[in-house]
Symmetry: C2
Subunit: 423 residues, 2 copies
């Protein structure tokens, strides 16, 4: 099936808004084994919209149009869809009633210009929007089935996942169920993971599970797309592959599916009623900012301390500055973590000291990270050197620190070699 996407709107065309709706649509379709072949962006302009609809209608089997369903005069999708399909715009009593109920639930009166949102091309199939007033609809133009979706990301997501993808899969003759299993890791690059996982697809029968990756430095997402007759069938096929991925990526898997690294760390802390103190230098509060705002963190994160100066770090945790004569080393980090824990009375303390190289901020710019995690009984520490410019060092240090803390809390080694460090 040839699928195209048309994104509409001056905001996107002029670059004022980065087109994340498109990357979302395309990724989501890929997750279900569907592919976008062509994307077009046009503005709120009748001539361009009509031509875009006509061209896509000649080439594609299915077209997803995003945007232009709002109540204002520059929202033109329904009007041009009707024109391209050669039909009239007619009032959908069904959608008008839905909208009136929507406003009533919010104790508001529907403004008259919202009525425009219920004007649909004759013969269009209404696609429900449970979270907004823009009516989705489907319509044939040329040889393609067009699906019209709202520009508001939240509304688009619901409609795409709940309504459009099932229709596309049905049209595509794929009456099978599809499920996406995800593993998040830190410390393994995409090509390394690819070679580690060579052959895992063979653990499921007949190519029913497909392996893929998505990189967002510093994390890597490993994806298994599984197909089956229903969810039970999928679970059966997926289980041996999942197990193999867990075995091969091992300690590097930091979370699965919708969980996050910071969420896992927080859950580990909360689960044992532990409390955490953070000491940061060049990461500048970014480690705290990843975790301390989350619901539940008000209990688990006791204190964060930030300073770019080692002497000031010592003062903040009550260490004698003279003890720091060695500069930034693993031992110094251990001493700081121990002192921070004692000072605040938390069960755990993470100290992350960073020694930046001298010189200009280029791709060769590096930093040395010495981090330590102290508990009442022991202290674990690690030294790592990250290259790639100031921002890269900072991002890497944040992730490495949170991941070492996760490993410590889960009883895993904190010193496993990662692909992003220089030895």
């Amino acid at each position: 099936m040839r699928i195209e996407v048309i994104c509409t709107g001056d905001e996107v065309l002029t670059g004022k808004t980065v087109n994340t709706n498109f990357s979302y649509i395309s990724q989501k379709l890929e997750d279900f084994g569907l592919s976008v072949r062509w994307e077009t962006t046009v503005g709120d302009d009748r001539e361009s919209l009509l031509l875009a609809f006509q061209l896509a209608g000649q080439r594609a089997d299915a077209v997803i149009v995003n945007g232009g369903l709002g109540p204002t005069v520059d929202d033109l999708s329904q009007e041009i869809a009707a024109k391209a399909a050669g039909v009239d715009l007619v009032l959908s009593e069904e959608w008008l009633a839905t909208m009136e109920a929507y406003f009533k639930r919010r104790s508001r009166v529907m403004p008259p210009n919202n009525k425009k949102q219920a004007m649909l091309p004759a013969g269009a199939e209404v696609i429900d929007n449970p979270v907004g007033t823009a009516c989705g609809f489907a319509l044939d133009i040329g040889k393609a089935r067009f699906f019209f979706t709202p520009g508001v990301p939240r509304e688009l997501r619901r409609m795409l996942e709940e309504q459009i993808i099932p229709r596309l899969l049905a049209t595509n003759g794929k009456q099978t169920a599809i499920y996406l299993k995800r593993f998040h890791s830190y410390g393994i690059g995409e090509s390394h993971a690819d070679s580690l996982l060579a052959g895992v697809e063979a653990f499921a029968p007949n190519g029913s599970v497909k392996l893929g990756f998505r990189t967002h430095y510093p994390q890597l997402e490993t994806k298994l797309t599984a197909r089956g007759s229903d969810m039970d069938d999928i679970r059966r096929k997926l289980a041996p592959v999942e197990q193999e991925v867990r075995k091969r990526l091992g300690n590097f898997i930091l979370a699965e599916d919708d969980r996050t690294l910071e969420g896992v760390v927080l859950a580990e802390l909360a689960g044992r009623q532990a409390t955490l103190t953070l000491v940061e230098t060049f990461t500048s509060g970014q480690i705290a900012a990843r975790i301390a705002h989350l619901p539940g963190a008000e209990k688990a994160v006791r204190r964060g301390i930030v300073s770019r100066d080692l002497g000031e770090v010592c003062a903040a945790v009550g260490l004698d500055g003279a003890a720091m004569a060695a500069g930034i080393t693993r031992e110094t980090a251990e001493a700081v973590a121990r002192a921070a824990r004692r000072r605040t009375g938390s069960t755990h303390a993470l100290a992350v000291l960073i020694d930046l190289d001298e010189g200009a901020d280029r791709i060769e710019f590096a930093g040395t990270i010495c981090l330590a995690i102290a508990t009442e009984h022991d202290v674990a520490s690690r030294r790592s050197r990250i290259v790639g410019g100031r921002d890269w060092v900072r991002l890497g240090a944040v992730e490495l620190s949170l991941d070492c803390l996760r490993r410590r809390l889960q009883g895993l080694p904190v010193n496993e070699r990662i692909d992003f460090e220089k030895v």
Copy 2:
């Protein structure tokens, strides 16, 4: 002049990479008074590329193609450009020599497959790439002039700004110079700014200065695009408009052009050899993370303290917990800021206490921010209520706090009403 953009590459088409290159190109052209009329994204696929080039060549006067100039087999732009133009690919001795010199400067031998990057359509105009091995080029296809650019953002930027925009402006008959003046503000919404600035364009002759906005919550960017025969002429025309914008937006302007709020705050601190202590609660280290990693901050930012618990905040700054019986108020914030300054010996301390409402994280969710800035001699404080969900409250509190600090350091009132607060 009708301009189109074609973005190429499977990474962009599958959504793995969000297409920020397109928004950058489009915005940059807008800044120079040029507009993109149509954008197409296709993958690394011969048939799609050829069709995209042909269609754009029929419609447009100028087409910017992004990506596909690399050394690997899936980089197809030169090959398909030649095919669409009906010419052969020929080796550019000029670009081959440029590449060899590029590798030599880096003490590396050029890999054989890089030679592919010097194969250009016959008759193409070479467009220099001072920061990479991908050769830009220009070529006529159909009735349009095509400009081929590399997908690496850094290389694209140099080529677009230094080489392609001047060519487009020349083709467009706009032999005039163009200059973009920018003002960054916090606390005024776009429509409010628009009404405050009504008529400012008239302070320049003959529509030579155009007003525009770009919103990225919580900040607003006000843009003046000025045209003239040369930079002197532009400066003359722009001066009265600039002055009027400064007068009308007044204290809300936090920085101009490439400067940032955190950069301005840091410069104010450094200029008086002042030092800063930060105390954060729900902002969770995000205020520190904006400023403490910047070059120079190692001297100016003395300490950051993060805790979600008011008692712990008091303990960290050496305040008697009993003094906090009132909960989160302006007075409490003032006491915390004073104590934090005394405790760390810094010249300035900013304390930001946030009282979150109870309940689910919805659009109606709000928080009350009490912030105070203490110096040796006095303390300024402010109370503000921000609605819009947990993330919105946190982002708003970070910006409000840094902006109040900027105002305090610049001798401006910290209590001016902003559009984003609920009274």
